[in-house]
Symmetry: C2
């Protein structure tokens, strides 16, 4: 498993649910006409609370007129977890926050580095503030060795780590009834589904037609939402609180942070197991 | 030839060239996801001066947040010129403002009815203010007889009309160097070209790729732009001033009004002929 520090300077922004129209022009361009922008990183997440946009500085330039866009102050760097095999389908099955709970998430939490997780079908992105990068490298270099590559810093994972003390979960959890499908789309096929995606992203409350989006396997996922009040960006250890118990139960999990809350996705047949692991209070069993 | 009074209540609006982003959300929905709106009439015209939108009252509801949208006060009705054969390709060749210059345009001008012309590949729309409809029906009923149809009023053309006295052209004319292609798209194929059209409509100055838009024939068109200062909506006879000389020369012409100017399109091999007809001053030859 490799950990890359990607060459992006990312901004995290939020758009109110009732104000997406003010950003439609920019979002459409970034989502469907990427070749017309210099943006190299674009993420769009809809939750009941808001729309979360993650873009690099070039992407942010596409929203000159969006006074409804709230952009967090910090600039973030992206750590990219990729298996040795790169992004092959085989490697894809090896991702998920569970796989990096002990090797990456826990050490960063131990050193008070706030992380913003963004799992995708192919890989996981761990966003950390640029100003924390020295700490990140110092922290992880205890477990990794440096290999300088052409266009990014490659940290090659070596040894496993002994599990730290159990972190108490300090934020309320919620399990929506929704079932989720985690899937991936070949960019080359994007034009053929553009109007459907436009419909889903901008003009529909639900998911009117997911026939195009059935994952290769038929696995469905359930969500654990973390946070009652918006979490903010300063608190450390939230991802670790969730990912470590799931890792201890060997439950594969995707983890998606948004501007206001965090979201862990686990295979639906594991949701009960995951909830019991997350709600288990060791101090009560002493 | 038939003239239909369509059941639309239309509004004519203008968006500044630098403010399209404020209307992108609504325009995309009307252009690419028509089934999600109750709008039955939508027209989008880009000129160097502005974007002109023509929508019915339902369509206008898609622009709640577009304070940059300037909507003309009047509500317009649409007269639709269709050949007997309806909208078959054969019939399409029979449209163009030239065909209705004497039978529709001239009589309306004679009775001081201001018209807003909108030619399309398939047919021509003559927009008149709702308040002028009684005058329109009275005027044209001298040359047409009424046939009441199921969902619209059909006026079936009977006799030709003697040409009225030559109307002097009172607005400056201009001939851009551009060559234009007048074409048509099967709505069923719209999704397959949505991203290309999005690119053309919103993110490109020019026409980056017109391979998809070559007309069945290879005929190209040249434009005569009418108006130095914005024409406004009150003046009568402008379309007549242009269409009658072209009709006298039997030059097929499409005519497109926008919020600020009028535009006549003639086959490029006819442009010199058209210009000489339009700039001929009978009073000078007396």
């Amino acid at each position: 498993m490799e950990l890359h520090i990607l060459d992006h300077r990312l901004k995290i922004a939020s758009v109110p649910r009732d104000s997406l129209h003010s950003c439609t022009h920019g979002v459409f361009k970034l989502a469907f006409l990427a070749e017309k922008t210099r943006c190299k990183f674009f993420s769009f997440t809809q939750t009941p609370e808001d729309y979360t946009l993650i873009v690099d500085e070039e992407g942010l330039k596409e929203f000159p007129a969006s006074e409804r866009l709230t952009v967090a102050d910090a600039t973030w760097a992206a750590l990219n977890v990729a298996s040795g095999g790169g992004h092959s389908p085989a490697a894809a099955s090896a991702v998920g926050v569970t796989k990096i709970a002990k090797s990456v998430i826990a050490p960063l939490a131990d050193h008070n580095v706030s992380v913003f997780m963004l799992s995708t079908y192919q890989t996981d992105f761990i966003l950390v503030r640029e100003r924390d990068l020295p700490t990140v490298v110092r922290t992880l270099s205890a477990e990794f060795i440096f290999v300088v590559a052409v266009d990014f810093l490659v940290l090659t994972y070596f040894s496993d780590i002994t599990s730290p003390a159990r972190r108490p979960i300090i934020h309320p959890l919620a399990c929506p009834l929704n079932r989720f499908c985690i899937t991936s789309l070949d960019p080359a096929t994007l034009p053929s589904v553009a109007t459907l995606l436009m419909d889903i992203m901008f003009y529909s409350d639900g998911f009117p037609n997911n026939l195009l989006f059935t994952s290769s396997s038929n696995e469905m996922w359930k969500m654990v939402r973390i946070g009652g009040q918006p979490l903010g960006f300063d608190e450390c250890g939230i991802v670790a609180q969730i990912s470590e118990p799931l890792a201890s139960g060997d439950i594969l999990a995707y983890y998606i942070s948004t501007y206001k809350f965090d979201h862990a996705l686990v295979p639906e047949e594991e949701i009960d197991n995951a909830v019991s692991l997350l709600t288990f209070r060791p101090e009560l069993s002493r």
